[in-house]
Structure formats: structure tokens, C-alpha cells
Symmetry: C2
Subunit: 480 residues, 2 copies
């Protein structure tokens, strides 16, 4: 982990991106010219300009932090992205690969040969290798593993044995361990001998001779206590610990709740096997919120915004197909009442209002419930109460807005019975949308599925078919 010493980089990140884009465009312009012109003399001149531009671009990129380059790569279309990648990949490719999003990483790795990948991986820690491994060609991974020493290989294997979002896959192995029977003075001297401490070291891990975690010594305490004191007297002996098979998102919530910076991971016997750090947790928190947004909208996964049309189509395919089926069902519901619509064509114009407002209101409910579930605020014990509240909101909205729309229907079509049916249908559909908005995510969770998954598509399906059925059914009963 490199120490950052650039001044106010966040201010000018956008500027830097723009500078890179500008240099890229200059470069491309010259390339285009070179293609079009034939004279040899001109070729040489343009080649010079071309090289100057690339050199300038290279200089610019060399100044940037790997995280900034990652951001620039993510913000560039594929061809520009690969031009930049060619310029930076020789030296800092490893750091950059670890910073970019999965979707973009795939495009970068596809541009590297085995030799380049191996060189990039050589400088990585075991946990970083494990992060990268699933996306590398199989034989490259094999060769990589061969090149590691036994402890490193064991660590990579262990990290790979856990699910992507389990603590075991998120932890690193850069723990500084000490014994509890030494003085703080000895600890201070020990640290000095290390020359460098791992990033995010806010505490040292106190272990016994079998590697069992006995406590943690926060650096804060090491600094303010008398150096003659023993570690055992100063350490926190009952720290927050995590198990490797625990859900990473739970760990992230604990980090957030208890303001942790690093925390030990122990196995079933209490043996220290790794540590979690806040930077991994922040990434997880962000990813979790993102996948909530994406899943609700029916996107299968994070999408490289410059992905090919074909890739994007595949990413959105599943939920669109589902939506097609539900829309077809809604259409058949209307088909049931074609006779009524023929007699009173106003029904065709009014029915989308009932369905649309139900869908909108249902989306509000479901968004709120999915969020509360992500924060663990919803239990079976309070489900009924939540449902009652949402039904109350729906009833108020239905009577008020349904009333408004009913009056408008009356004015438009001069038929007061149509107005009453409209109000009644709006109210009933809003009640249905509230019911579905609470029950869909709860049912998904009980089935062990992600409650956000396509919930927006599902609620819209319910309120569409339901709305048409309620409105056209009531109209057929009372107006025909």
C-alpha cells in the first residue's frame, strides 16, 4: 500500500480525467491524419507529434495514484481504455487491477498476455492474489501458485475456499502479533525493528505461543501508557472478533457500528488467522448498496457503462423477459373485459391511471421495506404492524387521490358512476400495492433470496394486472 502524499487530489480528479481525454483525442487525431496522408515526409512529422503526445500522456499518468488511474480507466470507452492501459500496465498494473471494478478488470485482463499477468501478480499479497484468481486463465493461476512459497500458497488456497463475500475471502494476513508478557518498551523496540507497519494498523494482536488470540493492544494505548507496563495490563482482552465463515456484510455493519479500523479474524479454536480492515469494509458497504439499486431495477450485475451492446443486452435480459411475461398476463386480464371496453371506451383511457399510480406507490413501499431489511430493522414480530401502517397510507392516498381522479373522470365523461368506480378501484389497487410491497420482499427473504432482486418488476406486475382487473371488474359489475 503506497503512502499518498499528493496535495488535494480529489479536487482535480475530474480535471485530470479531462486532461487525459484531451491528450487521447489529440493522439487519435494525429493517428487519423497519418492514416489518410501518404507522403513519407509528413509521416515522420506526424509520428513525432504522435510520440510527443503519448509521452505527455505517459508523464501525466505516472503522476497519478493507482486509484485515480483505475477511475480514469473505468470512465473511458474500451479503445481509449486500452490505449491508457498500454501506457501504465508495465509498472503498476498489479495495483491498478486491484482497484478497478470487476467488469472493467475483465476487459483489462483480456488485453494482457500470461507473462504480463504473472509479472503483475508477483508483487501481490496472498489476499490480493485470491481476489484476482477467479478472473485469471486457469493455467496462469496454476503457474502462479507454483511460484509461491508454502505459507503464501496455503493462504491463497484458504482465501479461495470461502465465498466471495465471506470474511475468510475478505481478510488479509498482515497482522503484527506480540506476546502479553512483555513490556510496552519491548513492543516499541520490536516495531522499530520492523521498519514498516502494514496499512491500517491501529492495533497489535496479542497471541500466546499457540497463536491463540488473547487480546488486542490498540496503538493509542501503546502510545499513552507508561513503557514499563506489561502488555497484559494495557491490552483490551475481549475485542470484537470475526469468524472466517461469517457474512462479510455483517462484519461491515459491525465495523460501521463500532467505528473499527481493523479487527482480528479467529478460527473455531480462537486461533488468529487474519484481520479485516476498514478499507475492504467500505468497499463492501458501497457494493451492497449498489447491488440493492441494481437488483431493484432488474439489472443482473454491475455493468461496465462502456460494455458492448451485446453484453448489456445479456445483463438486462432476464428481467426484461420476466417483464414481458407479466405484461402479457396484464394484457390478457384486459382481454377478459374487451366486451365492457367496447361498450364504454372511456375505460381504456382511465385504466392506466389506476395501474400506474398503484405501481408508483408500490415501488415507494417496497423501496422502504427493502432498505429497512438491509438494515435488519424488520422482524416477523413487527411485520403486521408495518403492514397495517402501509395499508393505512394506501387508504388515505386512495381516498384522496382516487377522489380527485374520480371527480376528473366525472367531468370528462359526464358519468358520476364512472367516477365512483374510479375512486373505488384506485383505493383497492393502492391497498393491493401496499400489501404486495410488504409481502414480496418478506417472502423473498423467507425463501432465502435477496429481497431486492427484481422487486420493482414484480410489484409493477402485481399492480398492473391487479389494477386492470379491479377497475374493469368493478366497471363491468356496476356500469354495464
Amino acid at each position: 500500500m503506497t503512502e499518498v502524499e499528493t496535495k488535494k487530489p480529489q479536487e482535480s480528479l475530474q480535471d485530470r480525467l479531462n486532461q487525459v481525454v484531451e491528450l487521447l483525442h489529440k493522439h487519435k487525431l494525429v493517428e487519423d491524419l497519418a492514416h489518410r496522408q501518404e507522403g513519407q515526409h509528413q509521416d515522420i512529422v506526424e509520428n513525432l507529434v504522435h510520440r510527443q503526445n503519448l509521452a505527455e500522456l505517459q508523464r501525466k499518468l505516472d503522476e497519478l495514484h493507482p486509484a485515480d488511474i483505475a477511475h480514469i480507466l473505468e470512465s473511458l470507452p474500451l479503445d481509449d481504455r486500452l490505449t491508457v492501459w498500454q501506457l501504465v500496465k508495465a509498472e503498476r498494473d498489479g495495483d491498478i487491477l486491484l482497484e478497478v471494478s470487476d467488469a472493467v478488470r475483465e476487459t483489462l485482463i483480456a488485453d494482457m498476455d500470461d507473462h504480463e499477468i504473472l509479472a503483475a501478480a508477483k508483487e501481490m499479497d496472498a489476499d490480493e492474489l485470491a481476489d484476482l484468481a477467479p478472473e485469471l486463465p486457469r493455467d496462469v493461476v496454476h503457474e502462479l501458485m507454483e511460484s509461491l512459497d508454502a505459507q503464501q500458497r496455503e493462504r491463497v488456497r484458504s482465501a479461495l475456499s470461502y465465498e466471495e463475500d465471506e470474511v475468510g475471502a475478505l481478510m488479509d494476513f498482515e497482522m503484527v502479533t506480540i506476546r502479553d508478557d512483555v513490556s510496552l518498551e519491548v513492543v516499541l523496540r520490536y516495531l522499530r525493528r520492523l521498519k514498516e507497519l502494514p496499512g491500517h494498523t491501529d492495533k497489535l494482536f496479542v497471541v500466546d505461543y499457540d497463536g491463540i488470540l488473547k487480546g488486542v493492544l490498540p496503538i493509542k494505548r501503546l502510545l499513552v501508557n507508561d513503557p514499563d507496563k506489561e502488555v497484559a495490563d494495557v491490552m483490551a482482552s475481549d475485542p470484537v472478533t470475526f469468524q472466517p465463515d461469517q457474512d462479510g456484510y455483517e462484519a461491515a455493519q459491525a465495523f460501521e457500528r463500532y467505528d473499527l479500523i481493523s479487527a482480528p479474524v479467529v478460527d473455531k479454536n480462537g486461533k488468529l488467522i487474519g484481520r479485516l480492515t476498514i478499507d475492504e469494509m467500505v468497499d463492501l458497504i458501497r457494493e451492497e448498496s449498489e447491488s440493492e439499486v441494481l437488483n431493484m431495477a432488474g439489472l443482473r450485475e454491475e455493468e461496465d457503462i462502456f460494455a458492448s451492446v451485446w453484453k448489456s443486452v445479456r445483463n438486462r435480459w432476464a428481467w426484461l423477459a420476466t417483464n414481458l411475461v407479466t405484461a402479457f398476463i396484464a394484457s390478457r386480464v384486459i382481454g377478459l373485459f374487451e366486451g365492457s371496453i367496447e361498450k364504454l371506451v372511456a375505460l381504456a383511457a382511465l385504466m392506466p391511471i389506476v395501474a400506474g399510480i398503484g405501481g408508483n406507490s408500490g415501488n415507494q413501499t417496497i423501496t422502504m421495506i427493502v432498505r429497512a431489511m438491509a438494515l435488519d430493522q424488520v422482524q416477523t414480530s413487527n411485520a403486521t404492524r408495518l403492514l397495517r401502517k402501509e395499508l393505512g397510507v394506501a387508504l388515505v392516498n386512495g381516498l384522496v387521490w382516487g377522489g380527485v381522479i374520480g371527480v376528473m373522470a366525472f367531468y370528462l365523461y359526464g358519468n358520476w358512476e364512472l367516477g365512483v368506480v374510479m375512486t373505488a378501484a384506485m383505493t383497492l389497487n393502492l391497498l393491493l400495492s401496499a400489501f404486495a410491497g410488504v409481502m414480496i420482499p418478506m417472502t423473498l427473504q423467507r425463501l432465502g433470496r435477496d429481497p431486492a432482486m427484481g422487486s420493482s418488476v414484480m410489484i409493477t406486475a402485481m399492480t398492473d394486472s391487479g389494477g386492470f382487473f379491479i377497475f374493469l371488474g368493478l366497471a363491468t359489475l356496476f356500469l354495464m
Copy 2:
């Protein structure tokens, strides 16, 4: 900030919540009984049981970290919430108030008298007071300010002078400052004299006699370097700094990008005036993603899931009203074509398919664009390219799914011209939804608005009215 030493609290948080709920229910059951029974003897017995339950609950709560109590309060309906609040508020009300969400905090403060609020606020730091102040009664704030010393008052005032999400409102004042002309040994002795270091102290701030920031001394370097060295030789002299009027979310992104734990805030002259810490930034990252979700669904703000029906109605009112207007417009679009529907009632059954799938696909596009914008990946320079890609995806989806639906329409109604119109309308509406999905958030951003704000409602409005117009228009042109 209290040091957490509870063992694996994250494992049992849900259990603890359940225990509290159970105790609360016991307590309420007894209360109910006491209300119903009249005999005096029984009253006394039940009063005893009642008190025992409360005592047990109190014991349970006393063991918990303020953040855990905050979580429990957020997960309880209002009456239970206030019962628990009564039990905890005497001692740790300040810590807990700072941990709960804004919506829940409001309900808790409403339950406190001025005296209690003042007592709770007494132990807070200036930045915490500033967080709380906007939600307190005006005269309480006045009294609070009177009770502060000049420096504290000045700090609260300064924090209050910034927007809620500016760095100046997010920073705290717990900086440990040192001079650059002393040895590390002197620094170590100075820290020991402090007895305690502020939370999240991963670096010390090096300032000159005028308070101008000259660099930072990471604790890591303090620990591994020779104590005889001078601060000036070891410090990082060009650290990442922030300005108080900078956007907090930008700062949070910088924290994430550069793996920061704390960072100095300086004024225009380079004078150190505060510091940002990762815990505030994590909160901000979470809030930002949440407000994105909420805004897209048309919820005005974060909602206490147990808010009263009336409060919830108000929170959702604005976008529902907008939706009512847009639905009405869509209805009038259909009204234009009532003649065609009378002649061919199949149009009424098929038109929601065109509108619905357009809405769904538009929501996928807009979700992706809003996310990319939040990550600063979208510039005007790549807008055209994005638009072209989304139009490409829409074209593929329109021809494929529109084709499927066209064939189905043909089979259902035995009218091949209807099938062709259906396919054409689907394709055109998907192109419209892609166009709107890219342009709506971009336009909102150019107007200086939040691109997520109600974007889902807006895109649905476009694809509904647009879809009806395209489909019914084509049908009227070619089928009548």
C-alpha cells in the same frame, strides 16, 4: 468515543433485539392484566412482576453499546421505542442520540424535556452539538450555547455555518498537533502526557506557530523510526487536505480512493482548522447510496419505518401527485384515440405491454446512468457514446422482444398487420426509453439538480404517454 470490548457483538445483535422485544411484550402483557383486574392484592403482585421485567430489560440494555441500542430503537414501533428510551435515556442519551437516524432522533427528542436535553448535550463535543442543534428547540440551543466556553461556542457556530453535507459541518476538532523541529522522542513523551488520544488518530498534524499545516506525521512512521530523528525529517509534507466548503461526498470518495483514516481540514491560508475521520465518511457513503435509492423511487427523504401514517403520506405525497398528473396526461393521450379503440378493442389490451416494457427498460438504463454519474464516470465527452450504446441495446431488445410480442398478437387476434404495428411500436418505445433514460439524469445534473430525484417517476411518465401515443398512433395510421 468508548472503546468496544464486547465479544462478537455482531453475531448476536439480532438475538439481542429479539430478547428486548420479548421482555417488552412480557411487560405489556402484565400492564394489560393490571388494567383489566381490579383486586388490590393482585395489583401489587402484578406490579412486582412488572417491575421485575423492567429491571431485567434495564440490565440487558445496560450491557449494550450505544450503537446497538440505537439500532434497537430504530427497529421498534413508537410506543415500545419510548419505553426503551425511558430506561436508557438517563445515562447514555447523548451517545445514543448521535447514533440514531434523523427520523428516529426526532421522535426521541420529542419525548425529552429541556432539562434532559441540556444534560445530554453537556458531554458532547462541538461537532456533535452542531449535528444535533438543528433538531433541538430554539431556546434549548440558546441555553446550550450560553453554557459553552468561547472556543467551543466558536466551533459550534463555525460548524453550523456550513451546509449539512459540506466538509466544515462534518469535521471534528480533536486534532493532536505537534511542531516539526522536535525529535520523535519528544513527540512520544508528549503523547504519553495526553493520557488519551482521540479516536481514529492515525496521524499527528504538524503545524507552525501560526497554526499553518506543514505536514502530517503518520503514527506508523512515528513508531518505526529512530526516536532521535526530527519530525521534519519523518513527516509527510504534502498530505491530502480538505477545505471546509468542499462537498463532503467528494471527500468521502477521496477517503475511499486513498484508504484514508483521518485527514486535515485547512482554511484558505493553509491554517489547520479541523479533521475528517473515516467513520463520518462511511456514514456519508451509506447515506448517499440510500438517498439515491429513495430518490429514484420518489420518496422525499429517509423514513422512520414506524412513522405515523400521516407522516408517511406527506413523505410520499409530492411524487405521487406528480405521478397523478403524468398518468392523467397518458390517459388523455389514449383519449385522443378512443375512436380507434372502439373500432379495434384489441388495441386496449395490447397497449399496456408497449408502455410497461418501455418503462422497465428505461428504469434499467436510468439506474445505470445515475450510478455512473454518482461515481463521476459520465462526462459530456462520453455522453454521445453512452447514448449510442443504450440506443443499440434498445434496438436489439425492441426487435427481439417486440418480434415475440408481435407474433403473439398475430396468434391471439389473427391480424398480422396488428403484429407488425406491435413490433414497430415496441422498438420505437424502447428507443424512446433509452433516449430518456440517458437524457433525464443528464439534464437534471446540468440544471444543478440531483440526477436521481424522482427519475423513476419521470421515465415511467415518458414511456407511458410515449408508448400509448406511438402504438395507438401507428395503429390509427396503418390499421384503420
